[in-house]
Assembly symmetry: C2
């Protein structure tokens, strides 16, 4: 029975890693569609979100099923409960990639307001935080989880920089830029919120391993 449970836990890992990789792919494609002004890529991304929703349900059912059949306690139960929470975070991240794609559709017929440098940079940070937070969970690595929390201030700073620049140098100077500036500003916020979800995952990992409540917003 014990070995079988471990096998099924491994299956759960596999699903979660698949989910994480689909989510990273979604972030990456949303920013590609922005950079390339690619309506079809943005639309495809929006339509493909249903697959991620299905995987979320599958993982959730798997967790409930594991609890029902093996009735794990203590560490194993807490691990599965955490997997359910992380699964929900990943699905929310995918929704934010869809939000980005929707902003891209608002921008796609308009000339680009400015060269895109910082938004792609922020998306790279976001993708790294997704993979680090999932790795921290699977390896029960609280040091890595803490590094994810520490990265969040970098993401916050970059988001603020992007927003300030858009307001100060474009929208506050030339009102004709407002309808192109706001979607970019929102994309920066969507990315930063993706980072926030990865810090939720990191907090869950630390609580699972150390039993300590970390609300990093009050620490950094």
């Amino acid at each position: 029975m014990e070995r079988h449970f471990d096998e099924e836990l491994n299956e759960l890992y596999t699903y979660l890693l698949k989910m994480a990789s689909m989510v990273q792919e979604a972030i990456s494609r949303s920013i590609e569609s922005l950079k390339n002004n690619d309506r079809k890529m943005a639309e495809d991304l929006i339509n493909s979100d249903a697959e991620i929703d299905e995987l979320e349900i599958l993982i959730d059912d798997k967790c409930v099923d594991l609890i029902a059949r093996y009735q794990p306690v203590a560490k194993d139960l807490r691990f599965i409960a955490t997997a359910m929470k992380i699964n929900a975070e990943l699905e929310r991240i995918a929704d934010l990639a869809v939000d980005i794609a929707q902003r891209v559709l608002e921008l796609v017929d308009k000339p680009l307001l400015k060269p895109l440098i910082d938004i792609p940079k922020l998306s790279v940070i976001a993708q790294r935080m997704v993979s680090d937070s999932i790795e921290a969970f699977i390896k029960r690595d609280t040091d890595l989880a803490k590094r994810v929390l520490a990265s969040d201030s970098e993401a916050d700073k970059l988001r603020n920089y992007i927003a300030d620049e858009l307001v100060r140098d474009y929208m506050s100077v030339d009102p004709k830029t407002v309808d192109r500036g706001i979607p970019l500003l929102l994309i920066a916020r969507h990315l930063e919120r993706i980072c926030d979800h990865t810090t939720n995952i990191a907090e869950d990992v630390i609580y699972m391993v150390e039993g300590k409540i970390v609300k990093h917003k009050h620490l950094y």
Copy 2:
């Protein structure tokens, strides 16, 4: 044992209702602080979020503890698993009330851009959706859950109306209004995202009761 489990489930209800009422209160106070230009109220709200975070952890631990001690299966297990998901949604809603309060702090020293009518209206819808979604969960009432899903299009429309008006009548006309328009636009988005979280709760309720996956975005 059976009766004891029911008693503990009732305790779980009580906690969740307490959480829901704190969350509604947070939404209401965030909008009050906006209407009254009240810096202290906004700051107090931001500081009091820690209490909601603590209650989230308490509910989460209670759920894991119930599963570990009673090893419920089938319906009861699914109910507790759903409670954990809903708990996380409520905490995210409280975070959005904090986001609103942060926007209020950005606005508090500046003259009001326009009389506030539609944002308070949207906040009333959001609060109703919070209480309806929690009631749907506790009563296992899928009809009420479906009404929550149906309300979301009303919230979306009002959010779009608010955003369009801010861009069209203010920010696109007079660039001096941009730094006051953007926080208002974001507050409308925060409120609409609160509504989205209540539809997540409603979807979870329908899945719990009917085993049907409802992703309302594709239905309405």
